[in-house]
């Protein structure tokens, strides 16, 4: 690998023009998506749009593309960066010149990513995150991989010497096998995928409402599903079929989504840090630094436990929203999870006594379910008529299961350094965080709980708020005092 000199202003790889061009075109199309479709529809009807003929339209499109290309070239030409001993300099802007200087010590994260187009022409993008808001973030779109890695190394050079040393030894701790990836996809929470698909379909419907009304689809549906007492059975069957198709589609969606985002997932263990690389179309390379970790979340569910699949998500402070979801490692065995946790959190102990929330929690859960059931009864009355109460049987079963599992999975463990909180209904969720990373503590109590002497504790870290639900008032106070004492007596930074 040739050593490049970053001390003089350099441009990114000339392939960058292509990347910027593609990115801008994509943004442009996305912004005017609806207009394009309207154009297309009226074109297909009348062969022309208003006073414009097809040829002129084509000319306009070509014109737009050329101007986008020129813009991309100018953008590329004016995009220069260089490194000094402890600063990163970047100058951008075609007309308004921008000069950004970032001290190396203020850099929070350096991520290397590769989207589909970048994979085709073999470049990567380098993403520098600082502690500011999202705008303060810098992205260099096209670099060849050795250069990117070298820049990353240089950026961390003054800030963290230990880290750079350990970069040399690559120790792949975990690599996901295709089989486990598939299993992970199958055992996802399909309700979520279903919700995504449903909202997408509804969104589409809303956008093209007028066209659908034109097709008189509704009239036809009304004709076929004529509601009276006899046809209610066919109606239910029809609904079941629709639901079944929905489930199948969401299943497929979950599997595809899991495979695409987690393709070739690798966890690389360095001396101090852990690196994750994954993705099919969008390749990402992320590093986790223990000091910045706020919460660690382990997720699994019944089916996943059977296959030995656990998901470990790491919440770090000062990570932008887009990147946040990438910090999870799927399909880990249980002992692998604990290996990683021990790596990231010093002497974490799991074998301590777990405390349960008060039985009052069960009552709250039931009330929650009753409320939802009550709401569902109203539309049910309009759909099913007098036999609407039948759905309450379903709700009763659901409520009992909900209460049972929610309560069973809820617990909290506190020792000198860590808090562990368990929760979940379908999923089993375990949240772990260090006491000295607490930002604030809130004790909550409503007037009904006051009589029962019950309180909830909301504990915030820089990345998440977790709740210890419904515990005894005195216990809540003791925990609050203990945690505050711990945070305030040790002079440890949260980051």
């Amino acid at each position: 690998m040739e050593i490049l000199d970053f001390s003089k202003p350099i441009r990114q790889s000339s392939k960058g023009i292509l990347i910027i061009f593609a990115l801008n075109t994509y943004k442009f199309i996305r912004r005017f998506f609806v207009i394009f479709i309207a154009f297309g529809l009226s074109l297909s009807k009348k062969k022309s749009f208003a006073f414009l003929s097809t040829n002129i339209l084509l000319l306009i499109i070509v014109g737009i593309l050329i101007s986008l290309l020129v813009l991309a070239i100018l953008k590329y030409w004016n995009f220069k960066f260089h490194l000094t001993n402890d600063e990163f300099h970047l100058s951008t802007g075609i007309i308004n010149k921008d000069n950004t200087v970032i001290p190396k010590s203020k850099i929070q994260n350096v991520n290397i990513k590769q989207n589909f187009i970048q994979q085709l022409i073999n470049v990567v993008s380098l993403n520098i995150e600082t502690a500011g808001d999202d705008k303060a973030e810098i992205e260099i779109n096209a670099l060849d991989k050795p250069t990117a890695l070298q820049i990353k190394k240089e950026l961390f050079n003054t800030t963290n010497i230990v880290e750079t040393e350990s970069h040399e030894i690559k120790n792949v701790f975990f690599r996901v096998s295709p089989k486990r990836l598939l299993l992970e996809g199958l055992s996802q929470n399909h309700f979520k995928s279903f919700a995504i698909i449903a909202s997408f379909v509804f969104g589409l419907y809303y956008e093209f409402k007028d066209y659908i009304i034109e097709l008189e689809l509704q009239e036809q549906i009304k004709k076929t599903i004529h509601l009276d007492e006899e046809s209610i059975f066919t109606f239910i069957i029809l609904n079941l079929v629709v639901i079944l198709i929905g489930i199948l589609i969401s299943l497929l969606f979950s599997v595809i989504k899991t495979v695409i985002t987690n393709f070739n997932l690798e966890v690389i263990e360095n001396q101090k840090t852990i690196e994750i690389s994954k993705g099919l179309f969008n390749k990402v390379l992320l590093s986790l630094t223990p000091s910045r970790i706020q919460n660690i979340i382990i997720k699994t569910n019944r089916i996943k436990t059977y296959f030995g699949l656990n998901t470990l998500s790491v919440k770090q402070a000062m990570v932008n929203a887009k990147q946040r979801k990438n910090f999870n490692i799927i399909a880990l065995e249980k002992d692998q999870v604990y290996h990683l946790i021990n790596k990231l959190l010093d002497n974490y102990a799991n074998q301590i006594k777990a405390f349960k929330p008060s039985l009052y929690y069960k009552r709250i859960l039931i009330v929650e379910m009753l409320f939802i059931a009550g709401i569902f009864n109203i539309p049910a009355f309009f759909i099913f008529g007098n036999s609407f109460w039948l759905i309450n049987i379903l709700f009763l079963i659901m409520s009992v299961l909900y209460m049972h599992f929610k309560y069973k999975k809820a617990y909290y463990k506190i020792n000198d350094e860590y808090i562990t909180i368990g929760s979940g209904f379908i999923d089993t969720v375990t949240v772990i965080f260090e006491i000295h990373k607490i930002q604030s503590i809130e004790m909550k109590q409503n007037i009904f709980q006051k009589r029962k002497q019950i309180r909830s504790l909301n504990i915030s870290t820089a990345s998440q708020e977790v709740t210890i639900p419904y515990i005894d008032e005195n216990e809540a106070k003791i925990i609050c005092d203990f945690l505050l004492f711990k945070v305030e007596s040790q002079d440890r930074d949260w980051m």
């Binding site: 020792n415 604030s440 503590i441 870290t461 990345s463 216990e475 003791i478 005092d481 505050l484 949260w494």
Partner: protein
């Protein structure tokens, strides 16, 4: 050492129960009343507009039901807001800031001084008239974990602001 639940700990640690919480300025109740009246004026304004401009029969027939329900809610809301005023209390300790509020849902939030990112005092125009200020304490946590102590006498707010600022800056 594992955290145990015995009573011993509560005596060794500073106890949150022993803290004397200080109520905010009595003047602030005027701001609460003013804000509520503004809100109700808006709601009833919309109701009156509905009465005169929307001629649908369902709405017009049940108009007075709707009106009385809204009125009932407004009155209840107003009363709880007034009663909840007494629950707005705060305390500044050596190492943390405590703020309690809420009648129906009571919450006591504590932010350690070492976790404060920055502090800000803000004053609306009525607050300026009544010589009050709002103290905003920001942490790095979720937006919900920021403290917002409303209705402090200006002098107290300034004092707390200076005290906390010097502590925060001294620590880093």
């Amino acid at each position: 050492m594992n955290f145990s639940n015995t009573q011993i700990h509560s005596e060794t640690f500073p106890n949150i129960d022993n803290v004397i919480l200080k109520p905010i300025s009595k003047q602030y109740i005027k701001i609460i009343i003013f804000n509520k009246i503004l809100k109700f004026a808006l709601v009833f304004g919309i109701l009156i507009i509905i009465k005169f401009f929307i001629k649908k029969e369902i709405i017009q027939d049940n108009y007075w039901y709707l009106f009385s329900i809204v009125l009932l809610f407004s009155v209840l809301n107003f009363i709880t807001a007034l009663l909840a005023f007494k629950k707005r209390k705060y305390a500044i300790r050596e190492h943390d800031v405590i703020y309690a509020k809420g009648l129906i849902v009571n919450s006591i939030t504590t932010v350690p001084v070492s976790r404060i990112q920055h502090i800000e005092t803000s004053r609306s125009w009525i607050a300026r008239k009544l010589n009050l200020a709002t103290l905003n304490i920001y942490t790095a946590g979720e937006s919900g974990s920021d403290l917002r102590i409303k209705g402090l006498p200006l002098r107290d707010a300034m004092q707390i602001n200076d005290f906390l600022s010097s502590k925060v800056n001294g620590n880093t």
